[in-house]
């Protein structure tokens, strides 16, 4: 039954078939995840370095900077907290900004909840490797490949923490990532990951809504709110599925063919 529900969900959003992942040997999926995130490693390292440099400049102390990268492991939230503190803001404001920015991981982790294995502690620990990039790379049209997520997340974790250490201890002698254009790597990456998902009208509508909400709210809300609010774009999924989608499903000729023909006008 669950398979059927998931299959329906997957075919509705027009995604990659789930059968593909079963034939891949275990270790290869971890490696695939790490390999997929490899192009981003220089950028992640460089941003880790700039976090280390910024944290040091804000008077944060080497140990606190390293502990923050190891426990929070989320670039934007860490930058926000440190810049608030560095500008003389209150602790509450720094915490608020960082927690708001990381709020997006709530719905993201919920969507990927089924991918994790084992008891509560193991799930809790494995979920810490979920960041924007590992989440997006492991997305198989609504289902998530746990090994790809963990492989990608682990390499990102190493890069982020190594970068932070480099920045804290040797930052003054390294180049600014903006000069290298590395800040422009991230929007392009997310666009490249978004493009294959835009095969259905619903997905395109959700994407347009998400981008529109985020841009609209950027000038009027605290940082972090726009991306959280943009999750509302997925509510287009509440719109009634037929008759157009039922017809499309019949065209695709999948398992629901008969059912879809019954309900289409």
């Amino acid at each position: 039954m669950r398979g059927l529900v998931l299959h329906t969900a997957t075919s509705l959003i027009g995604s990659m078939p789930e059968s593909r992942r079963k034939r891949i040997p275990r270790w290869r999926a971890y490696r695939d995840g790490a390999r997929a995130v490899l192009p981003l490693l220089p950028a992640v390292l460089a941003f880790g370095v700039s976090f280390g440099v910024l944290a040091k400049a804000a008077g944060m102390g080497a140990v606190a900077s390293l502990v923050m990268s190891a426990t929070t492991f989320a670039g934007s939230a860490q930058f926000a907290a440190v810049s608030v503190l560095g500008a003389g803001g209150t602790v509450a404001a720094a915490i608020g900004a960082a927690v708001l920015l990381n709020g997006r991981y709530g719905p993201m982790a919920l969507a990927a909840a089924d991918a994790f294995r084992g008891g509560p502690l193991r799930r809790l620990l494995e979920a810490q490797l979920l960041v924007d990039e590992s989440w997006a790379l492991s997305n198989r049209g609504g289902r998530f490949d746990r090994r790809v997520l963990l492989g990608a997340g682990a390499l990102l974790y190493v890069g982020w923490n190594a970068g932070t250490a480099l920045g804290v201890f040797a930052g003054d002698s390294l180049a600014d990532p903006a000069t290298l254009g590395l800040d422009a790597a991230f929007p392009a990456l997310f666009l490249a990951l978004l493009a294959p998902l835009l095969r259905s009208a619903r997905a395109a509508a959700a994407a347009l809504l998400g981008a529109g909400i985020a841009l609209l709210l950027t000038p009027i809300t605290p940082a972090g709110v726009p991306v959280i609010a943009a999750t509302a774009g997925c509510l287009v999924g509440l719109a009634r599925p037929h008759p157009l989608l039922a017809a499309a499903r019949a065209d695709r000729g999948d398992a629901q063919r008969t059912l879809a023909q019954e309900v289409s006008p």
Partner: protein
């Protein structure tokens, strides 16, 4: 100094909780088809928002700068079905080149 540590610890614990809540409490439960469909659309909505904010948000204001040009170049590469590495490199090189010129 204690303010720094308070920030580090509270943000760390909050992040662990935010990331862990779904996988610990909602796993193994069968989602109704409607909910599954809505959650399936989270990816396009969130990715599009990440594209928009990473390219056009500068703190709490909008900005059209070299990142936008990099995104445009990266977008062309995506349309031409370039591999991920090439998309990322083209976007970064475009932004870096423009910054070097100005």
């Amino acid at each position: 100094m204690s303010g720094t540590w308070a920030t580090v610890l509270v943000v760390g614990v909050a992040t662990v909780a935010i990331k862990g809540a779904g996988p610990v409490f909602a796993a193994g439960r069968q989602l109704p088809p409607r909910t599954a469909r809505v959650l399936g659309l989270l990816a396009p909505a969130l990715l599009a928002a990440l594209v928009a904010t990473n390219a056009f948000a500068d703190g709490e204001s909008l900005a059209l700068d070299e990142r936008g040009a990099g995104l445009l170049a990266g977008g062309v590469a995506v349309l031409l079905r370039a591999p991920l590495l090439m998309v990322v490199v083209i976007a970064a090189a475009t932004a870096a080149g423009l910054r070097a010129l100005t």
